[in-house]
């Protein structure tokens, strides 16, 4: 199951026209290298959309979100097998 985290994180990545690809992120003191971006989605409730990135790092799935209104990144959830 996905465990809810909702903690602020730092993210580094690559911008190409119309697209951002996270390459690594820091959660607490640990840095995770993104091995794959498995799903992108955009959620709109209000004028400012929230961008969701599901990424594989250290062998598990992390759900990240980017909030453009305050340029904030969050680690929303992490997959934990058997939880």
């Amino acid at each position: 199951m996905y465990q809810t985290i909702h903690e602020s994180i730092e993210v580094a990545g690559v911008f190409t026209p119309g697209k951002f690809s996270p390459t690594k992120f820091r959660w607490g003191k640990k840095t995770f290298a993104v091995e794959a971006i498995t799903l992108l989605s955009r959620e709109r409730d209000g004028l400012v959309p929230i961008h969701h990135y599901s990424v594989v790092a250290s062998g598990t799935v992390f759900r990240l979100s980017f909030h453009p209104d305050n340029l904030a990144w969050f680690l929303e959830e992490v997959w934990q097998e058997g939880a």
């Binding site: 199951m1 996905y2 794959a36 498995t38 799903l39 989605s41 955009r42 959620e43 409730d45 209000g46 004028l47 969701h52 599901s54 594989v56 598990t60 799935v61 997959w79 097998e81």
Partner: protein, 404 residues
């Protein structure tokens, strides 16, 4: 051409999480729910399907992984599918959350080989949504047949119904794979010895009319001749919705009057927000409640179209619900605003109270549009968990969520 994403709800979550690929996955509406609303192809192979209880699913597939539905992700993926289709053909139709029709009639010079084009579409979907997202493509000369071809094709493949093979398809396809024939109709057909579309050739029009009445006899005849039944016309694009409704099933029976009122108000606010976004008002309102194996409903038709959440709440709660001598505790709510008409064709009342309310609703609508639904909400909903909008597979509110 009919395009259908395989096991959409589950496949997208398997695409997201490689650890789930190849495993049976059951999608529940929310954490704590007990009914599977969608299953992965692996779960389907083990007998788990839509409507299977979580308990039964666990018995059929002990390794099954249950996940809550991610409606926002599904809807976003559908919007991306819409974008793919709009880049390919001028005439396409989103039929449900995971299905679309592409009209290739005017594109035969651009796409001379329909099957090759189908494989191209499948690849574009994979490129956009992910490698694990497979789709079925069905091709024929109308939507009814294209959908049938897609339904029975092996997962991830392209199939075509042609004049040469149509009899084979009609003689072998089960009714569960025929759009327009539900279980009740299937049972009634079985009484006539009809278990496949092809069998209808041996039933006369008179027999059909005697058994099914004037409407269904003609629909069935159309299907047996490979023509589109009327339901496809009802899905025509840009058709103004006839009603807006919202229902919810609670986690447990509601005994508390304040809870019943708050849920009703919550659903009403969502219904009215959607209606107002589409600039529609309604003349017919209904509320229905269920629980403890019982059901109650009431409705009212009004002369002046309902355009405000407060008006709808006054009718459904203060007028209709308050007259009911509550005989059971409630677990399911449904509110409906129907007989919708455009604001453009509906005269606006000049009553000062109505005008004042209109200004309030306009302001609330604008704030909610800018900052998110329920940012401004009735005091009835304060200090209560909010029920957020969700999409259904059928995508009955496609005009609202996807736009024209």
């Amino acid at each position: 051409m009919h395009v259908d994403i395989n096991s959409y709800f589950a496949t997208l979550l398997q695409q997201e999480n490689p650890a789930l690929r190849g495993r049976p996955v059951g999608i529940l509406k929310d954490v704590g729910r007990t009914c599977v609303i969608a299953a992965s192809k692996e779960a389907k192979k083990l007998g788990v399907g839509t409507g299977t209880s979580a308990y039964e699913a666990k018995r059929l597939a002990p390794e099954i992984v249950f996940l809550p539905a991610e409606f926002a992700r599904y809807l976003d993926a559908t919007k991306r599918l819409k974008k793919i289709f709009s880049n390919l053909v001028p005439d396409y139709e989103i039929f449900s959350l995971d299905e679309a029709f592409l009209n290739l009639t005017d594109c035969t010079r651009l796409y001379p080989d329909a099957q090759e084009f189908g494989r191209h579409v499948q690849q574009l979907i994979k490129d956009d949504l992910g490698e694990f997202v497979t789709s079925n493509v069905g091709i024929s000369w109308n939507r009814f047949l294209a959908k049938m071809a897609g339904e029975i094709a092996p997962k991830g493949s392209v199939a075509e119904i042609t004049a040469e093979n149509i009899d084979h398809y009609f003689a072998t396809t089960e009714f569960k794979d025929v759009c327009g024939i539900g279980r009740r109709l299937e049972k009634r057909l079985a009484h006539l010895g009809v278990t496949r579309l092809y069998d209808l050739h041996f039933v006369t029009d008179e027999q059909l009319e005697t058994e099914f009445g004037p409407y269904w006899s003609k629909e069935l005849r159309k299907m047996s001749e490979g023509k589109e039944p009327s339901l496809f016309a009802h899905h025509a694009k840009n058709e103004q919705p006839k009603s807006v409704s919202r229902s919810i099933t609670g986690f447990s029976l509601a005994k508390d009057e304040a809870e019943i009122r708050a849920v009703m108000r919550n659903l009403i606010d969502e219904v009215m927000y959607k209606a107002r976004e589409m600039q529609l008002s309604g003349r017919w309102a209904a509320v229905s409640l269920s629980g403890e194996g019982q059901h109650w409903w009431s409705h009212q038709r009004v002369d002046m179209p309902i355009r405000h959440a407060q008006e709808l709440f006054d009718i459904l709660y203060h007028q209709l619900y308050s007259q009911w001598d509550r005989t059971f505790n409630v677990i399911r709510w449904r509110v409906v605003l129907s007989d919708l008409g455009s604001w453009e064709t509906t005269p606006e009342p000049w009553l000062p109270d109505w005008q004042r309310q209109e200004k309030l609703e306009q302001a609330a609508q604008e704030l909610n549009k800018r900052f998110g639904l329920f940012t401004v909400r009735s005091g009835v909903l304060l200090q209560r968990p909010l029920i957020r909008p969700e999409v259904t597979g059928y995508l009955g509110d496609r005009q609202y969520v996807l736009g024209p």
